[in-house]
Symmetry: C2
Subunit: 337 residues, 2 copies
DNA sequence: ATGAAAGCGCTAACAT
DNA sequence: ATGTTAGCGCTTTCAT
């Protein structure tokens, strides 16, 4: 790979002239400019970001941290949004897939520091102590970051889809239609939010019975099968909410064997974790749409605002509205209000 | 962000000693070693990969190129496999989301060259002229790369799930069970492979009628709806194959309205684009499983083999077996052979 | 065992 | 308008 030296030699100019041509940082004679261009083409030349970063003291890279265990639809949407904004700003996106569990010093933080990334994006909320500690390192070093979740960590920004609000809304929607035994699915990451939602629900909906179930691991069919048998067939639950739409087909395939029909025997509200999925929102299924791509894009924008001094880093927070798409997968058990 | 200079100063040693401690490249007095460690902890120090890369003339980065238009289940699986191998080898994965269409010089190639990435991974087959040209640049500069697809491009490696073979197998499977009017879905990337499959099918299965349909854009529901109305309800087609499993729920939701039942009125074989999806293979649906994660992992492995001189770069190629999971979504129209 | 110094590719301040 | 030069953070040879 050629360096600026070789370009300069071939064009018969000094390296600073080559630099000026590349960056348009000063007027250069047309003739020399042309010779430089020729030399660059001749060598497939591309200026090394290492030399440049070393000198400019910025890397033009943004890191996206994703727990490798949970690379799903949400993370993918987030990534798409982030990637497009990052590239618009002339930066590259470095993906850091880490196990965000365990006690040792997180590898992702070292990776980010070593790469001297200009900023960091987290596709998850900072729930563990370990993660929160890592964020402190970033803050100490003045590296902007943005994560997903309800609270903005100190020194950073956050984007939040108002999980608690929309989950409560989902419950109320079902309750108002006569459902008072509802299964609520959630991931580990949302575990701590769920408790507050349940409290709220108790207050808002007298007599409501919400069964919160954490989906863990990959054997979705097993878990859903047990829920169906135990709580729907042999139990009083006739409604489910916050089922990830990517798991819907699994659920659907389990119904016929148990003689369960939607919505006659079971009402369903799914969560669509991307507003720009390659498929449409599941026709027929009442859905809550989380704008993961918009969130990723906005998270990245905030990062650049912080980098450009347009934004105070501390505690900047943006909430996103989810769309509710009522369809026919929810049965009306009583007259609507 | 502290540099090696500051560590050396605080530890009261020279920068070369700090370097030796970091890399374990030579024996260092225990006392000094301890003082260096203390200084590194004190400053949250992480050695700059820029300085290191500049000196070592390698970046410890691998780029993954994905057309941003098609960031789907396959690409995600591929990415997961690649990411884990890349990180095992102490490298970072840089994601390059590019529009791989258009005529100008591809941005992704410049990005890769500027970052001086050690190697490149493509989550797509090199079908367009433009893409193939770009690969030549890589070859000229001795940068190893690996892409998905049937043929290995010159100077590079490839991983291939034997699309043509398994698609033919799917068709034969249906044909042997009495289906001779079959809808075959495919993406633009597979367009050129499909023709050969059709030829093969004609030869292997006398009288077979395969309707190849390219899925394009995001309005899956519209496209599937039209196919159902035109070719199933008002036409002779009673079988579908190679439907991406992520689109299955859309299809399923369209069936009741048209009074179509599976498999009585319609047989289906889906393609599951990841062997480690967060959900199970759709219970009940006959599926072809493409091992995208294994492919991504192996693609990355080959890259490192090439980098370490264990492999000749030119034309290395690895084929992957797909798993066939027969279930009950295919109707037996006649006695099995 | 340790330090001094050169040099990787680039930008920017300075000199002409 | 253009060239010279220092220096960004690191590794590595060469002395000691």
């Amino acid at each position: 790979m050629a360096s600026i030296r070789e370009i300069a030699d071939r064009a018969g100019v000094s390296i600073s002239t080559v630099s000026r041509v590349m960056n348009g940082s000063a007027r250069v004679d047309d003739d020399k400019k042309a010779r430089v261009a020729e030399a660059m083409a001749f060598y497939d030349y591309a200026p090394s970001q290492f030399g440049r970063a070393l000198r400019r003291r910025k890397s033009a890279m943004v890191a996206l941290v994703v727990p490798s265990a949970s690379l799903g639809v949400f993370e993918l949407g987030f990534l798409r949004g982030a990637a497009s904004v990052v590239m618009e700003n002339g930066c590259s996106l470095v993906l850091i897939c880490d196990e965000v569990v365990g006690d040792e010093r997180p590898a992702f933080i070292s990776a980010a520091l070593e790469r001297r990334v200009d900023a960091l994006l987290f596709a998850l909320p900072p729930t563990t102590e370990r993660l929160i500690d890592s964020l402190k390192v970033l803050e100490r070093n003045g590296i902007p970051f943005c994560h997903v979740g309800r609270h903005a960590a100190e020194g950073g920004a956050s984007v939040y889809a108002k999980y608690e609000d929309y989950t409560l809304d989902n419950l109320v929607y079902l309750y108002e239609r006569g459902h008072d035994h509802i299964v609520l699915f959630h991931s580990a990451a949302h575990g701590e939010y769920v408790r507050r939602v349940l409290d709220q629900a108790q207050r808002t909906c007298p007599g409501i019975d919400v069964l919160a179930l954490e989906m863990k691991g990959r054997n979705i069919a097993d878990q859903l099968g047990q829920v169906l048998s135990k709580h729907v067939v042999d139990g009083p639950y006739r409604a489910m909410t916050n089922l990830d739409s990517e798991d819907l087909p699994v659920l659907l395939s389990l119904l016929p064997g148990r003689g369960i029909r939607v919505p006659d025997d079971l009402s369903i509200i799914v969560t669509e974790n991307s507003e720009d999925a390659h498929r449409d929102i599941y026709p027929g299924y009442t859905a809550r749409v989380v704008p993961s791509t918009a969130m990723g894009g906005h998270a990245a924008s905030m990062l650049f605002d912080m980098l450009n001094g347009k934004l105070e880093g501390d505690g900047y927070r943006r909430e996103f509205e989810t769309a509710f798409v009522p369809r026919c997968s929810v049965k009306m058990m009583k007259e609507e209000l």
